[in-house]
Amino acid sequence: MHVASLYASAIASGALKDVGLTIVSSLIALLLGIAGALARLYGGSVIGGLVYWYVELIRGLPAILQLFIIFFGLTQFGIDLSPVAASVLWLVAYGTGYAVEIFRAGIMEVPTGQREAADALGLSSLKILQKIIVPQAWVGMLPNLTSFLVLQLKNTTLLYLVGYADIMYQARLGADATEQPGILYLMAALAYLVIALVIAVAGLRMERRAALYR
């Protein structure tokens, strides 16, 4: 178990980087996702169409290809991104594609009677979104949002390929150096699992609180 103690701090520092990147990129992606979903639903055919094709592009292209296009591909056009910048950019771009669909589904799930009742009171469209639609959509989306965060976390493993020193990067480095891949990848697995569980528990708590009125 000597190897485990030797690499524990490296894996831990990788874990911190993964968590940080997951949080930052997810927050930005979720904000863009709300905007994208609203644009898709209410933005008319041109703006809505653009969002539609963006989502198709993100969903249709393999994750690793997207990452390589951003990090390696763009260098040919004079855009030379650091590993961190490329990582954030890709995670946000990728996450936004999925977040749009999560928010769109959540908003559509709110019964039309809710909008009608709010309309009948004379509320403005913006107020209806803010006070009626989004709060209810949010609750319906919680399970999907939990999955989304876990997905974003797992996507960070790909970033070792562009030199971002995350858990996977550290485990890979250790496996090469010590020739004990079994132990090191097991440590990496445990680290990911712990973080994923924290996300799952947080998600469940929020669902429970929301279930008060459901």
Partner: protein, 265 residues
């Protein structure tokens, strides 16, 4: 009832694609008048009253509501529509309370967000309304904890909190268990007595006879008959109104009556 016409519907037509919902509907509602709209399912009664606050757009004709002018196939301006809606209350068949807000918050949302009234004042009025309905104890609960009858009475409070000049009721009791219908009808009856102008779509014939000044029978995509409630319900003049009332008053024979007997959908 006075002579001021507050809702004036003229030559109204509504269709979905090729399907005509109704055509050439005209109806004037006076201040403090209670108008009950009856007729077979699918004849467009609900659609008609939803045109009054433009929840449904319509294809031809005009509606003048409290001086606001709505015209077929013309989108009204949003500020005008919001103003109109803030003065016309609506109660829905399915209650449509906001499930994520407490009973009290359901009621004060409109006055705070639309009329920009101070929360304290609005809360006081909301509690008065709840007390009138015997629901003060429910103020801090979420709607799903309430019975259907209680939810519908809260929905009435929510509409009344805006201090509307006209109330639209879209089959307010058809989703309720039979034993809960009475409490909601009682609330509506009280409102009628206070002189509220009301347009009411209903399947409750006895109630219509009792509370409404005017009954409108819709059939075959238009108004088949309209007149004083008792007269229309007891001695209808047109064959279409007679046919409908025969079916409703002999429930075993019609689908409409059968649904009523089962006590809702």
């Amino acid at each position: 009832m006075s002579n001021d016409v507050v809702v004036d519907i003229k030559g109204l037509a509504k269709h979905f694609g090729d399907r005509v919902v109704f055509d050439n509907v005209s109806l004037a509602v006076h201040k403090s008048e209670v108008v009950a709209i009856i007729g077979p399912s699918g004849v467009g009664k609900s659609t008609l009253i939803r045109c009054v606050n433009h929840l449904h757009p319509f294809n031809a004709g005009t509606i003048d509501v409290l001086g606001y002018h709505l015209q077929g196939d013309v989108a009204p301006s949003k500020p005008m529509l919001r103003e109109l809606r803030s003065r016309v209350g609506m109660v829905f068949q399915t209650f449509n309370l906001f499930p994520h807000l407490t009973v009290l918050d359901n009621i004060i949302l409109g006055p705070i967000e639309v009329k920009r009234l101070p929360r304290a004042q609005v809360t006081e009025r909301a509690m008065d309304l709840l007390a009138m309905m015997g629901l003060q104890q429910r103020a801090q609960m979420y709607p799903k904890r309430l019975s259907g009858g209680e939810q519908q009475r809260v929905a009435i409070c929510r509409a009344l909190a805006m201090e509307p000049e006209i109330m639209l009721f879209d089959e307010p009791t058809s989703m309720l268990d039979p034993e809960l219908v009475g409490e909601v009808l009682e609330a509506i009856r009280r409102l009628a007595k206070q002189g509220m102008t009301m347009l009411l779509v209903t399947h409750e014939m006895m109630f219509a006879k009792d509370v409404a000044d005017t009954v409108v029978v819709m059939a075959d995509h238009t108004v088949a008959e309209r007149g004083p409630a008792r007269q229309v319900l007891e001695s209808p003049q047109t064959e279409r109104a007679r046919a409908f009332l025969r079916r409703v008053l002999n429930p075993g024979l019609s689908s409409d009556g059968a649904r009523r007997q089962r006590g809702g959908v």
